[in-house]
């Protein structure tokens, strides 16, 4: 096996598994080894034989690559997202690996979301008349199973909407009561402080400790409730509106929009701005997602394949540069 054959076999075994930059670096090392071997009076074939099967060498290289390499590879493949990259890529190798998996699922999720947005935005731009026509068509298309589904969904909405309202009222009431509790505790503290000269010291200490405990507990429970409430609301909104934001849900979207049931509002995690801006926000986001999507798909994954194809020239060029 000649030098060129060996390098070609090695490159093809690594291609797609490592970033092009890494492969170039590896090729450079092995080219140097060939150079040194030949300058020692060996033939290229002899050097190649000493190095061993290029596939085996490639396997060794891949198994020896630190784990972070995996995430870099995914990054090169355009699967990683900025937030996740910043959040996780700097972590330990395990975390980076997890982030990669997470990025893949996030990617799938955003794509779904994006598609939904695009559909919605294009429909909205066509105006309400078109909307109704489309709705009618959609209704006709899903006449058999669709009607039943529609009724079921409306029923579910009738149940979930009041439940949601009750939950929110409960949350608000809980906050009010919790706040009142804290206020009362503070009042109690003031009273105890005023009465301190009269009351034995032990009683004062016990009162203060008890009150601090009560305040901490109240705040913790309030925060916990807030967190849980938010999670539950988002879960319900996703469960209900996430699915129906597709074509089927569109049939009765008109009626819902009046009652403030814009899916974008729920999906964006109760963002007031998103709610007010409604369609324009959705359209803007659609174009944003669209841009990032084309970027990801058009980005050449292995942009320096050419150099990998002609490693000899490349490696030498690199040497002179350095």
């Amino acid at each position: 096996m000649s030098r060129a054959e060996y390098i070609a076999a090695l490159t093809s075994a690594l291609r797609g598994r490592l970033a092009a930059r890494e492969i170039d670096d590896i090729v450079r090392d092995y080219m140097e080894f060939f150079d040194d071997g030949v300058s020692q009076g060996k033939s290229e074939e002899q050097v190649a034989e000493e190095l061993g099967n290029p596939r085996e060498v490639a396997r060794q290289i891949l198994s020896d690559e630190p784990q972070t390499e995996g995430s870099q590879q995914r990054k090169a493949a355009g699967l990683d997202f900025d937030g996740i990259r910043n959040g996780f890529a700097k972590g330990a190798s395990k975390v980076a690996d997890e982030a990669g998996k997470f990025a893949a699922s996030a990617n799938a999720f955003t794509k779904r979301k994006m598609q939904g947005r695009r559909e919605k935005a294009s429909k909205m731009s066509r105006g309400t008349r078109d909307d109704r026509v489309a709705a009618g068509r959609a209704g006709a298309r899903t006449e058999n199973g669709g009607c039943l589904m529609l009724i079921l969904k409306l029923l579910a909405f009738c149940i979930i909407a009041p439940a949601l309202a009750l939950a929110i009222i409960g949350l608000v009431l809980g906050f009010l009561v919790g706040g009142a509790g804290i206020l009362l505790s503070i009042c109690g503290f003031v009273v105890v402080a005023l009465a301190a000269p009269v009351v034995p010291l032990v009683t004062v200490i016990c009162g203060v400790l008890g009150m601090s405990f009560a305040i901490c507990l109240t705040i913790t429970v309030m925060l916990l409730m807030l967190y849980l409430g938010q999670k539950i609301c988002i879960f319900i909104a996703n469960l209900f509106l996430g699915r129906s934001s597709s074509r089927q849900g569109h049939v009765y979207e008109d009626g819902w929009r009046v009652s403030g049931g814009d899916p974008a509002f729920y999906r964006d995690g109760y963002n007031g701005a998103a709610y007010e801006q409604g369609t324009s926000q959705a359209a803007a986001e659609e174009s944003e997602w669209g841009a990032s999507d084309t970027k990801a798909s058009e980005e050449p994954v292995w942009d320096s394949y050419d150099t990998a194809e002609h490693p000899q020239e490349d490696a030498r060029g690199g040497d002179h540069d350095a």
Binding site: I26, R28, F33, D35, D36, G37, E65, P66
Partner: protein
């Protein structure tokens, strides 16, 4: 043949020790290793790459008298600490293994 994982660790330790003595380039290291073992020469570079990535070695290019520049490997402070730690561990293990292999009694 010894367990590959163990073998790998030993080779890694040898490479660290060699480069701790002198800065060396790839072919040099492979030749030095081949002198002592029947190591597959192609497997030295992956180990060099890994140890470099883990920060135990730094590399620099130096023009050679004949041919293109060579990549030299030099040990970092981090690598020196790692070598010291591994050497101690190796000595401990080899003592233990030797004493068992030779059938000596070891008292706890």
């Amino acid at each position: 043949m010894l367990n590959t994982q163990l073998r790998k660790g030993v080779i890694e330790l040898c490479i660290l020790a060699l480069i701790a003595r002198n800065d060396m380039y790839g072919y040099d290291i492979v030749r030095a290793m081949a002198k002592y073992t029947d190591i597959n020469e192609g497997t030295v570079y992956p180990i060099l790459r890994r140890l470099t990535k883990e920060g135990y070695f730094a590399t620099y290019l130096m023009e050679s008298a004949a041919g293109p520049a060579r990549k030299y490997y030099t040990i970092t402070d981090h690598g020196k600490i790692y070598l010291k730690k591994n050497t101690a561990e190796w000595e401990e293990i080899s003592l233990l293994v030797n004493s068992i292999l030779k059938g000596e009694e070891t008292d706890e």
